[in-house]
Amino acid sequence: MKPIVQDNSPEVSGKSVHDNAEVVELILIDDAADLRGILRRLMERSGLIRVVGEANGAEEASQLINAHEPDVILLDLAMPGGGALELIERLRIERQGMTIIVLSGYPTSTTAHECIERGADRYLEKGKPTSKLISEILEAHSIRKGLL
């Protein structure tokens, strides 16, 4: 994690976000390019998260993760060619310190349990306000790092 260079974030709840004062590096994995782009803008605007890469599928995500070794990956479940659940499972084994957040359009009850079982730290539904997303991401990352 890198020191924060600016903090013009929207209100983000929880003590971990501002108190830890570090930028979380994140890779966004979603096949919807517009959604990736807008999420990237919103997250980077907070100054708490830096998006170091974007991928539209599991294979591309693996390459980016190896290249950047991000703190967090934020991934959708539905991807071209599938493989999201397998990616979660593999990353949880290979990268214990990495925070894995699922951001999905599927209702929580049907798929969240499966994702958590496979090793995801959080399961978030698309459409939540960005401040809430960022808060959840940072909180999950802090827990993963043993900071809370």
Partner: protein, 265 residues
């Protein structure tokens, strides 16, 4: 008549039914030369045995004929088989092995899964062993060399148990098949619903999420564009989901309550 499970092709007769019918008719025809041979060796004259053998053969030929209705063919094949079995017992002087073969032939008849053929088989065997056996026991039971009373009833009951077991196993298999079909249908429907849910996710939820975040970012242009695309996608999706053959459109368009355009403040 053959069961629903066996008669499911366009003509009402399945490949499975035809195969089983071919087996039963072949077996009935195969019995004819065997009967002649055993009869000749046992000293039964050709004149004595020819009439019942011809009757058995006639049943088999009629059963094999495509001109006979499919409902009658199992019955004719069963009658041929049973007559052949009864003749076998008679020409062999009631030898033990022929009784066993007769019981086996009765069981083979249940391959049709046909209640009428089953009832005819059971009636035939009771008639043969109890009525004819009672009238002329020497002709049917001499080869058994037993003084057991009611031997005809014992054999008829044994054959009935074998045939009934065959029918019960069919009923169980039929119920299992029906259950399997129901499960497969339910699974196919579930898969279809999942596919539709995926389409709604890909075409609508993704678009709406983009609109929400674009509005939050103040990017009205992206929000408007995405909202328009999502609307088109939703209409297209609804159009495809409504295209169900035989659906009554007037029923679909009859709302139980007005459409909700959002919570009114």
């Amino acid at each position: 008549m053959p069961s629903r499970q066996l008669r499911d092709d366009k003509r009402g007769v399945s490949f499975t039914w035809r195969t089983r019918h071919a087996i039963v008719v072949s077996l009935a025809l195969l019995l004819l030369p065997i009967l002649l041979t055993i009869g000749a060796r046992s000293g039964v004259s050709v004149m004595q045995s020819s009439v019942p053998i011809l009757i058995s053969g006639l049943f088999a030929v009629l059963a094999a004929s495509e001109r006979v209705t499919d409902a009658l063919r199992p019955l004719l094949a069963t009658l041929s088989l049973l007559t052949g079995g009864a003749l076998l017992v008679w020409v062999a002087g009631g030898a033990l092995v022929t009784h066993l073969v007769f019981i086996a032939l009765v069981t083979v008849g249940t391959l049709y899964h046909d209640w009428l053929a089953y009832l005819v088989s059971v009636s035939y065997i009771w008639l043969f062993y109890v009525i004819l056996g009672g009238a002329d026991p020497a002709a049917i039971f001499a080869g058994l060399a037993t003084e057991t009373p009611y031997i005809g009833v014992v054999i008829a009951a044994t054959a009935t148990i074998c045939a009934t077991t065959g029918m019960i196993s069919w009923l169980i298999a039929d119920a299992s098949q029906q259950r399997r079909t129901e499960l497969e249908t339910a699974l196919a429907k579930a898969a279809e619903r999942q596919h539709q849910a995926m389409e709604i996710h890909d075409n609508v939820v993704q678009g709406l999420a983009t609109v929400v975040y674009a509005l939050e970012a103040g990017d009205e242009q992206l929000a408007n564009e995405t909202a328009g695309e999502t609307l088109e996608n939703a209409k297209d999706l609804i159009g495809r989901l409504l295209m169900v053959e035989g659906a009554d459109l007037s029923d679909l368009l009859d709302r139980s309550q007005p459409a909700q355009e959002g919570d009114e403040q």
